[in-house]
């Protein structure tokens, strides 16, 4: 009996050793979980190329839609089963929680190696989304925790043909908010539809409102508001809310915009049923599929004040993070460095019509995409502000603007409601 068990355990030991020997021989496989349906085939092609170059297999696995993907990431994080490379969909706060739980590798040292060779290739604003600055309010040690693989900006687009029909110069989009409103009157008179956007899914309202907040009161005052030093009842904020009322009254907003889904908005604009759209740079690919002959141009939202420049949301479109618990983290980082190199970025941009995160890959993109890319100079994003607003306040803010557009509430009422929720949340935070 004893002899048999000894023999068995020796056998077991051998098989374990045999196994581990084999593992050392073969190269690791890197697993990537992603959610980008439109980039899957391009990723697969790049993975093949990487394998032929290095012998390392990269396994891109697609889990869509993004909602389900983000749930999968959270569940896998609870079971510490995250893959070597993954993305986090969510706000900076969630990003910070993942870092605190030890899921994400700090890649600053890789980025800054060789005189920051890797870091300098990428758009600083795209990196900023993945960066935690010294003294950030999330309590994270400063560093870079993600690799941007593309960038995006959210701007307005206008239909050149419909501009001609309205008697406007198709190459001169409105620069000031007043011009924009005047066009609204013309649109109304001509029985056309003005601006379309996915304002049923509220975050795009938040985006435009923030653009105007930066334009009217400047970045510092917006951030001061988030910190709780300036109330939402401030006249500048009421002006931001009134922007939406003015747009609605002028007729520049399409009918039913408050319950519009972005995919419907895209159909409308692509089929030349709307003069303006407010959309992200991904729309170039969408419009191309629906109507290849669409003539349109990108423009910044028309400025409502000349005190401060208008800002738009932009930065990293999608980013990848490396699992800090992964056995292959070194290889995973190397792969991401390769993925953000000039050639691969140019390939991705060409195949998927997304803007590359690598500054040097911008040269050969179509004109309309280049217009979106130029918007990067005006880009900002809540994820780089270093402070974040309470989600309940954001919700009240966006809902309030919806009510303003349908004429249910006045800008002053909404400002009051938002401020009272802000104060409640601040009090709760202080009590903790």
């Amino acid at each position: 009996m004893l002899i048999r068990s000894v023999v068995l355990s020796v056998f077991a030991l051998f098989s374990v050793l045999g196994c581990s020997n084999q593992k050392i021989d073969s190269k690791p496989t890197i697993t990537v979980w992603h959610w980008m349906t439109d980039r899957d085939s391009a990723f697969q092609a790049l993975a093949k190329k990487y394998e032929s170059l290095t012998g390392i297999r990269v396994n891109f696995e697609l889990y869509a839609p993004s909602d389900a993907y983000s749930q999968k990431i959270r569940a896998a994080a609870q079971g510490t089963n995250l893959p070597d490379i993954f993305g986090i969909l969510g706000e900076k706060r969630d990003f910070a929680s993942f870092i605190k739980a030890g899921h994400i590798l700090d890649i600053t040292s890789y980025m800054e190696a060789d005189n920051s060779a890797w870091k300098n290739k990428l758009f600083p604003k795209a990196l900023a989304v993945n960066e935690f600055a010294p003294g950030n309010s999330y309590g994270i040690n400063p560093g870079i925790f993600g690799v941007p693989i593309d960038i995006m900006t959210i701007q307005m687009v206008y239909n050149k043909k419909l501009f001609g029909q309205l008697g406007l110069n198709p190459n001169r989009p409105p620069k000031t908010f007043q011009e924009f409103l005047d066009i609204g009157n013309k649109i109304k008179a001509a029985g056309m539809q003005g601006l379309v956007s996915g304002w049923g899914e509220v975050w795009m309202i938040d985006c435009l409102a923030n653009n105007y907040a930066f334009n009217i009161m400047g970045k510092d005052k917006v951030l001061a508001t988030i910190r709780g030093e300036v109330p939402y009842t401030d006249p500048d904020w009421i002006r931001v809310f009134s922007i939406f009322k003015q747009m609605q009254e002028s007729g520049v907003l399409a009918k039913g915009i408050v319950t519009m889904i972005n995919k419907s908005a895209e159909q409308l604009f692509a089929n030349e049923k709307a003069v303006f759209a407010f959309n992200g740079s991904w729309c170039v690919n969408v419009y191309k599929g629906m109507n290849p002959n669409l003539e349109y141009g990108a423009m910044l939202p028309p400025a409502a004040s000349d005190k401060y420049p208008i800002s738009i949301w932009g930065g990293a479109g999608s980013s990848f993070m490396v699992n800090a618990r992964s056995k292959n983290k070194g290889e995973a980082v190397k792969f991401l460095a390769w993925l953000t190199d000039q050639d691969q970025q140019a390939y991705l941009a060409k195949e998927t019509n997304n803007l590359p995160a690598n500054k040097n890959s911008l040269s050969k993109i179509p004109e309309i995409l280049a217009q979106f890319a130029r918007g990067m100079d005006y880009a900002t994003h809540p994820n780089i502000w270093g402070v974040s607003e309470f989600s309940l306040v954001i919700e009240a803010f966006d809902r309030g603007i919806q009510s303003i557009i349908i004429g249910e509430r006045t800008p002053e009422q909404v400002a009051g409601e938002v401020q009272s929720i802000k104060e409640r949340e601040l009090a709760k935070k202080r009590a903790r």
């Binding site: 969510g90 929680s97 049923g200 509220v202 039913g256 049923k273 919700e395």
Partner: protein, 293 residues
């Protein structure tokens, strides 16, 4: 002997109870516990807050109760309009009528279709600018152009429109269960009644209705459960909560879970929601017992 019999009877419920206790009770306890914590859904640590989450739901969270009210409104429409429609259709198809096989198949199409198609097709029917706009055109054609408006983006009609589309999507289930129920009524009863000189209406009232009460209760409870938890259709029709006008409890729970990363609060909302549903179903059950006596 008695113990042996009880044990024998237990074997019938054993498989169900086993699966239930592993895959329902364990997650449920986890969720119930979380309702007492503050947790972002990611970190490995959570803060105990006692009944704080529930306090907030009951005393501060106005939008939660608005969502509850909206869901109840949709449910009320489903209970009346949807179920009466389903019952009438089932009753018509239970009779000897031509093409009843055809109808039986057709009426079950809406439940089979994915919410994506239903949302897109109905937006197409209802909407002003990007669709066939059938409803508004019909209204104009019938000489009522003053009724024409944006059904989905008018706060006065958005919820009702959503509710009606939901009823359309769901009536097939009620139809099916009612039909199954009507079919269990022995034909001899109707024949005997006819021999006794009862009119169609009388036999409907004296035979069909009383025998169908348990099935009606069943359909009513299933309707309440199905409708109170509606949300995919709302998202695909109006994009979300539309300034609160179309918000429903499940959307609120998802907003707490994903939007705000307040996992513990979302769990507390889920439990509150469940308790309300149990209360409603209990009342329905009691009512039906009285109705039967």
């Amino acid at each position: 002997m008695k113990i042996k019999e009880a044990l024998e009877n237990y074997t019938f419920v054993l498989p169900a109870a086993a699966i239930f206790s592993v895959f329902y009770v364990i997650p449920f306890i986890w969720v119930f516990q979380l309702g007492l914590f503050e947790w972002d859904g990611i970190s490995f640590t959570r803060t105990f807050v006692g009944l704080q989450n529930f306090k907030e739901i009951f005393f501060q969270d106005k939008s939660w109760w608005q969502a509850m009210w909206n869901a109840s409104y949709i449910t009320l429409i489903a209970l009346t309009f949807q179920n009466i429609l389903a019952f009438m259709l089932a009753w018509a198809c239970d009779r000897e009528i031509k093409m009843k096989n055809f109808y039986r198949v057709i009426f079950f199409i809406p439940p089979v279709l994915s919410e994506v198609v239903v949302g897109m097709a109905w937006r197409f029917i209802i909407n002003d600018i990007d669709g066939a706009n059938i409803i508004n055109r019909t209204l104009t054609g019938m000489g009522m152009p003053n009724l024409v408006h944006n059904w989905l983006s008018d706060p006065n009609t958005a919820l009702t429109t959503v509710a009606l589309v939901h009823c359309w999507k769901g009536f097939g289930w009620g139809f099916l269960i009612f039909l199954a129920g009507l079919q269990t009524i022995p034909r001899e009863l109707y024949e005997a009644a006819r021999v006794d000189g009862a009119s169609a209406w009388q036999s409907f009232r004296k035979i069909t209705l009383p025998l169908m009460v348990p099935v009606m209760v069943l359909v009513a409870i299933l309707t309440v459960l199905g409708t109170m938890q509606v949300f995919v259709l709302i998202v695909s029709l109006v994009g979300g909560e539309f300034a609160g006008h179309t918000s429903v409890p499940v959307l609120r729970i998802l907003a707490s879970m994903r939007g705000s990363s307040r996992f513990g609060y979302a769990c507390a909302q889920g439990i509150t929601f469940g308790m309300v549903l149990i209360a409603i179903s209990f009342i329905q059950y009691r009512f039906s017992k009285k109705a039967r006596q």
